[in-house]
């Protein structure tokens, strides 16, 4: 497939990926200025910026109907900020608020342990701009994982911090599995060679990573019921409102 137009299924597949990246980036960004120490504040907002960059590159492919060349910020913003909530394809994990740093850190780890596998699946995509985006994203994911692992190496040792992190894991695991919940269009994307395989084929690798990291077996967790990413959690509306705050102040502003 080249710049010849996206089928509805492929479009849905790309939006699910983009929406996850976008909301993960936005959620991380909420820690700017309030992360536990200055250096971590900078590192975490860099990671947030990377995720937003991934989202922008995916939205640009959708906005350009397969060819992101010449797609400008307004077209990306249209998808990122002005879409009707019913048209979003994000998963539960990235919609949930995180008011506790341990919670945000465990989600960061869980998300990036899966995201790396997700980019691998499209690294040889027949949709060339997607394969190109994967090259950049993969180079950044390596750092995201090292960052999350580095912190967990230190914090899973202390007894108080370990308790907090495992409580967060307990809370997050049922929704984390929603990451692998496919949109109905995924089959079409796989058939067209846009992705090498359905994302949930990576589930065993991911659960293995969770087990090695936390000593907890995610397959013992009852996942939140899959919904094909068709409806939004209660946490979505307030999140979208926060994201649209600046636009709401002045819809014509440019910066």
């Amino acid at each position: 497939m080249t710049a010849s137009g996206l089928t509805d299924g492929v479009r849905e597949f790309l939006l699910a990926f983009a929406d996850d990246e976008h909301l993960m980036g936005q959620q991380h960004a909420e820690w700017i200025g309030v992360a536990p120490f200055l250096e971590e504040d900078l590192a975490f907002c860099s990671i947030s910026q990377d995720e937003l960059g991934h989202a922008a590159s995916l939205y640009a492919i959708v906005a350009g109907d397969g060819d992101p060349t010449g797609v400008g910020d307004p077209a990306i913003d249209e998808l990122a900020f002005h879409r009707d909530p019913a048209d979003w394809r994000s998963c539960r994990l990235v919609e949930e608020p995180s008011e506790d740093w341990g919670h945000a850190l465990v989600r960061h780890w869980l998300y990036d342990a899966a995201e790396e596998l997700r980019w691998d699946l499209v690294s040889e995509s027949t949709l060339a701009p997607l394969a190109e985006a994967a090259v950049r994203a993969t180079s950044e994911e390596w750092f995201h994982r090292r960052h999350a692992d580095g912190l967990l190496d230190v914090l899973l040792v202390g007894s108080d911090s370990r308790e907090r992190l495992l409580a967060a894991l307990d809370d997050l695991l049922p929704v984390a599995i929603s990451l692998f919940d496919p949109v109905p269009g995924e089959g079409e994307a796989v058939a067209a060679g846009v992705a090498a395989a359905p994302f949930d084929t990576c589930l065993p690798t991911w659960t293995g990573r969770v087990r090695d990291r936390f000593g907890v077996d995610p397959s013992c967790t009852a996942p939140s019921p899959p919904n094909g990413r068709q409806d939004r959690s209660p946490a979505f509306a307030p999140l979208l409102e926060r994201m649209r705050e600046v636009f709401a102040l002045d819809p014509t502003a440019t910066w």
């Binding site: 250096e39 900078l42 750092f143 090292r146 190496d153």
Partner: protein, 92 residues
């Protein structure tokens, strides 16, 4: 948390220069955090980190006696003054 001193260098030019310091729980996190605190905008290609406890420190009292040795300041000022004087004498 430990405190690390950060040194950066551009490939092919300059020497390592002190860029600042940072707090991190261990060497691995120090590397990760230094990259995002000091190398966000390609400020260098190479990075050194030194645990502050490993620094060998000369304090102010140790250094102070050398502050009062003007004869070591080889700025040529005294010679310049003398030359100006000689030129004036020649002109007369």
């Amino acid at each position: 948390m430990k405190r690390y001193e950060v040194f950066l260098k551009k490939d092919g030019r300059d020497e390592y220069r002190h860029a600042g310091s940072l707090d991190a729980p261990d060497p691995e996190m120090a590397l990760v955090l230094a990259r995002e605190s000091y190398l966000r905008r390609a400020e260098g290609d190479r990075l050194w980190l030194v645990d502050r406890k490993d620094l060998i420190i000369g304090d102010a009292d140790f250094v102070a006696p050398n502050a009062d040795k003007p004869h070591r300041h080889n700025d040529g000022e005294r010679i310049a003054v003398r030359r100006r004087q000689l030129r004036k004498e020649d002109d007369r």
